[in-house]
């Protein structure tokens, strides 16, 4: 039993973090609310960096890696609130390709998005392909109808015919990718709020010295500390094809969704009115968290999945 990432995986995580801190500051996220695409303009550079092709075969210019190589990078895209369909593309679509399209996808020459059961397709307008059920189709064939999201960077499109079924593998990869992003979002909101609580003074002292504020923030740290390992464990289960991977993903998405929602609530409450304005950056992260927590199954939906697995059968936790 060894529950830690390799130095290579951590180095790649650090490289992506450094890249996003430099290239995807809050301004880029904010601009995505109003630009034509809702995106960052960093897609091909994410390809060069190797983020998009982690799961693509080496023969196709990919890294030939597994979900363990990807999960930390997705967490970083959450921390940066990167406005891109990176989960749909890199975690869900790419592993289903081994032809020339894999090469283009790994390089970031094309963008592939996914049609979820909800029928709301993210960035369908700027995508080259949409994974619909088990087929890759042209967006043009889907009769897209634009919808506005509370997160202005999320360009959503309803399609005439949502997929009637979706591969469990795709659902699990998507839900876990979003869970990793939620961890990143929560971590960033916690950091933002701790910094603010140290600076902001009321009643002659920093508000972070009030016990009520301390306990709010400690509860966020608690939720993060005990949801993050579930996400990494589920990544391992997918990478190794563990029989219980769907249950592990469900646990991860359920708790990561709650951790991010709590982080947002506490961040707003501690910031007060300033956090309630769109001039301040917090709302960009908070609204992403709202959207992602409800995407690919919310906490209750995934809890119910876990319940069917553990209560409608007879088993022990982690039966050896």
């Amino acid at each position: 039993m060894r529950f830690a990432f390799t130095d290579e995986q951590l180095a790649m995580r650090d490289a992506v973090r450094a890249f996003l801190e430099k290239e995807c500051p809050a301004k880029v996220v904010r601009d995505a609310w109003t630009n034509d695409t809702g995106r960052s303009g960093l897609w091909s550079r994410l390809g060069e960096l190797g983020v998009l092709g982690v799961l693509a075969p080496e023969a196709r210019g990919g890294f030939g890696g597994d979900y363990l190589d990807l999960v930390l990078l997705l967490e970083e895209t959450g921390r940066a609130a990167l406005p891109e369909p990176v989960v749909e593309h890199a975690a869900v679509a790419v592993p289903r390709l081994d032809d020339a399209r894999a090469e283009a996808a790994a390089a970031g020459d094309v963008t592939i998005t996914v049609a979820p059961p909800s029928g709301l397709v993210l960035y369908a307008d700027t995508a080259d392909l949409v994974l619909h059920g088990d087929r890759f189709v042209e967006p043009g064939t889907l009769q897209l109808r634009r919808h506005e999201s509370v997160d202005g960077s999320r360009r959503l499109f309803a399609i005439a015919a949502p997929p009637t079924s979706i591969h469990l593998a795709s659902l699990d990869r998507a839900a876990l990718g979003v869970a990793a992003q939620l961890i990143g979002l929560a971590d960033r909101m916690l950091t933002m709020t701790v910094e603010y609580a140290k600076e902001r003074r009321q009643f002659g002292v920093p508000i972070g010295s009030f016990q009520a504020v301390k306990h709010h923030l400690a509860d966020v740290a608690l939720a993060l500390e005990f949801s993050r390992p579930l996400v990494y464990r589920a990544a391992w289960s997918i990478a190794r094809g563990d029989d219980d991977r769907s249950v592990h993903v469900a646990m991860a998405k359920a708790r990561a969704s709650e951790a991010a929602l709590r982080a947002g609530r506490v961040a707003l409450q501690v910031h007060g009115a300033i956090g309630y304005t769109t001039e301040y950056d917090l709302h960009l992260w908070m609204k992403r968290a709202w959207a992602l927590a409800a995407s690919w199954g919310d906490a209750a939906w995934h809890d119910a999945r876990v319940g069917r697995a553990i209560l409608d059968t007879d088993r022990l936790p982690e039966e050896q």
């Binding site: 999201s149 009520a212 409450q269 007060g272 309630y276 304005t277 769109t278 001039e279 919310d298 209750a300």
Partner: protein, 388 residues
């Protein structure tokens, strides 16, 4: 105890319901926290005023009906049940007016109240400043005496002024005695936002509306007749207002009963769609929201009966503010759960309304004194724990 309404109360309710069913705008008005919406809301307020429904509890002289507190609650129930528009006159009517009735001069009441009730003059509050949020006593905006012109010169900055970008006038506290500190040496002023030296900058709120404003004052002249209460005694005067801001006047139960009914309706429609089969727990959240709205209604009737018997409310207002603001958050959170992956959509009908309501609800635990401050008040002034 008699938990049935009197014939008089039933008749009052029937009148209100009939008029509202006749007159509530369909389709609903756009948000009153936008420039266009605000103008339309002023027309609605005018219609309410003409029918004497704008300020039912006020004296007839100012456009009211001298309705009892209980009747006011009944009107509120009917108002929200009818899905009538938000009240853009709210801050004037519910926050400034009570202070005017208690501390204002006859001249001030006659000059200000009717125009306030008819929305001819709209009011915003000027409490917060960049460094005076929860800590209201940290106010730095100054008022300097201008003997020659018989008034004061105001300078400083006010923030988070709700609808400040659209309102005509502002009420708030300014430091008139620079040597006094904290709660002392403050004076309560009524400021014309059209006056020279006033700059108003709209600030966009979470939901995208320009519902906030920053108000910058540079040497703004305010005549003595627009001082409310005693000079340097503004804190005591203002506390009456913040009390009612926390208390039931700001959020009457009718609002949450109507929201709970909409939530139950949303639940039934989603359940009929089979959308909830995978979430066995959301039903209980709906039930709890309903029960909480009902609990708030009866706690209010309990308090109001005491008030009508000549009793008082004091720090219990903090319990009320904590309860309605957290109920509002839970209720909207439940609605978003019911909407699932469609909750994030702000162009659909259902989702858009609930998401907007959710974002509005999130302000409840923050403004009018954060719920952390309110819990301190409950612990110290209701339960008697040491201040430290």
């Amino acid at each position: 105890m008699d938990l049935t309404f009197t014939e008089h109360e039933d008749a009052f309710r029937a009148d209100a319901r009939a008029w509202l069913e006749e007159n509530v705008p369909r389709p609903p008005l756009p948000s009153g926290d936008t420039r266009e919406g605000f103008a339309l809301h002023k027309e609605w307020e005018r219609a309410l005023f003409d029918a004497r429904w704008a300020v039912v509890s006020w004296p007839e002289a100012y456009g009211g009906r001298e309705a009892s507190l209980m009747e006011w609650l009944i009107f509120e129930e009917e108002y929200y049940r009818a899905g009538a528009p938000q009240r853009v006159t709210q801050n004037g009517i519910f926050l400034l007016a009570p202070t005017l009735f208690e501390f204002g001069t006859e001249e001030q009441r006659e000059r200000i109240l009717p125009k306030m009730a008819s929305a001819e003059e709209t009011w915003c509050q000027g409490w917060s400043e960049p460094n005076a949020g929860s800590d209201l006593a940290g106010i730095k905006s100054r008022a300097v005496r201008d003997e020659a012109n018989g008034g004061w010169r105001l300078s400083g900055q006010k923030t988070w002024t709700t609808r400040g970008a659209f309102c005509d006038r502002l009420f708030g506290l300014f430091r008139s005695d620079p040597d006094a500190d904290r709660h002392h040496g403050l004076t309560y002023f009524l400021v014309d936002l059209r006056a020279e030296g006033v700059t108003v900058r709209a600030v966009e709120r979470l939901d995208g509306d320009e519902g906030f404003a920053e108000v910058f004052l540079e040497d703004v002249f305010v005549p003595d007749r627009d001082v409310l209460g005693t000079v340097h005694e503004g804190w005591r005067v203002a506390m009456a207002t913040t009390g009612s801001e926390r208390g039931l006047t700001l959020r009457s139960p009718g609002r949450f009963m109507a929201a709970a009914a909409r939530l139950a309706d949303l639940y039934r429609r989603r359940a009929d769609d089979g959308a909830l089969d995978s979430d066995p727990t959301v039903r209980d959240a709906v039930v709890r929201a309903w029960i909480d709205a009902d609990a708030y209604r009866w706690q209010t009737f309990w308090i109001v009966t005491r008030l009508m018997d000549g009793g008082q409310t004091g720090p219990e207002a903090s319990l009320v503010k904590i309860f309605w603001s957290e109920l509002d958050v839970r209720l909207h959170e439940t609605a978003l759960r019911l909407l699932g992956s469609r909750a994030e959509l702000v162009d659909g009908d259902d989702p858009a309304a609930w998401m907007k309501g959710w974002q509005f609800a999130l302000s409840g635990p923050i403004y009018a004194g954060t719920n952390e401050i309110q819990r301190n008040v409950v612990a110290e002034r209701v339960l008697g724990l040491p201040r430290r």
